[in-house]
Amino acid sequence: MTLEWIGDVILLVVVLPVVIYLLHGVLTAANSIVPSVNRIAAAAQRGSADLDAVPLLLHTQEQTIATVGVVADYGGSLDVILDDAQGA
């Protein structure tokens, strides 16, 4: 009978607090991850939205090619119009 009471005391005083402490720690850690994950998700969505202008690069590419072509034509004309430097 005495041993049973000792076992009861151990369960209530030692095992139960230890179980609660450990599980509470796990729950706290899991809950602390949630805000971080939400921030990561929001940042990924904002980053994705920032890249919506990427298709404009295709227009920039076309404009660059056209501009370089005009510069080449203009440079060719200048090459004809202007004299070369002495010794060049």
Partner: protein
């Protein structure tokens, strides 16, 4: 049932209840984490998809810009000479002379003329574009940027004996009207060169 057994059962039930409560709470938190990670993964996938063509497009843009830079650098060096070209670039972009020109490694060893300390950017541009701009004229200190006399072979070829001065007398503007001394026939004049009348006749 003895009292000790009842207490033990109560203790075990309490332990199981605590375990269930915390484990269920943990499961709920993990589900929220999973949902958040799903959203994050979707955003990252969208970023990857949208940024996939960026490298090729940017490389193409850079190749075209490189070609343009090579063209302009080559043209500048050809027309202005290496030293003046580097001086002009350094005048427009201070410190750029240290980097030199990409296709001309010798540009880094050129003694850069301090063009920008004497002339403004606009003047430099005019000097480069117009070989007979006032800045290029001979000064008491010698040629400014280019020799004004020999700077233009093309224009010098037009006047091999020197640029002619003002003509002593220029033909006067023709008198027009019904009473004009010279009557022009529109049928002859339109589309054809103007008649070059003798000077004396034009003055009359």
């Amino acid at each position: 049932m003895p009292a000790a057994g009842v207490v033990m059962i109560i203790a075990v039930v309490a332990i199981v209840a605590a375990a269930v409560f915390y484990l269920v709470s943990t499961i709920v938190a993990l589900r929220r984490i999973t949902n958040g990670l799903d959203e994050a993964i979707a955003g990252v996938v969208a970023i990857i998809d949208k940024s996939a063509p960026v490298a090729d497009v940017v490389n193409t843009i850079n190749q075209n810009l490189d070609a343009g830079v090579d063209l302009l650098e080559g043209l500048l060096v050809k027309k202005a000479g290496l030293a003046d070209a580097v001086g002009l670039i350094d005048g427009l972009y201070p410190g750029a002379a240290a980097q030199g020109l990409r296709n001309l490694p010798d540009a880094k060893r050129v003694k850069v003329p301090r063009i920008s300390e004497v002339y403004t950017r606009g003047t430099l541009t005019l000097a480069r574009l117009g070989r007979e701009a006032p800045i290029a004229a001979a000064s008491p200190n010698g040629p400014a940027l280019r020799n004004a006399v020999y700077g233009s072979k093309a224009s010098a070829a037009l006047y091999p004996d020197g640029r002619p001065g003002r003509q002593p007398s220029l033909p006067r503007s023709p008198v027009i009207g019904v009473d004009s001394p010279v009557q022009y026939d529109p049928d002859e004049e339109v589309g054809g060169p103007r008649k070059r009348l003798p000077l004396a006749q034009e003055r009359s």
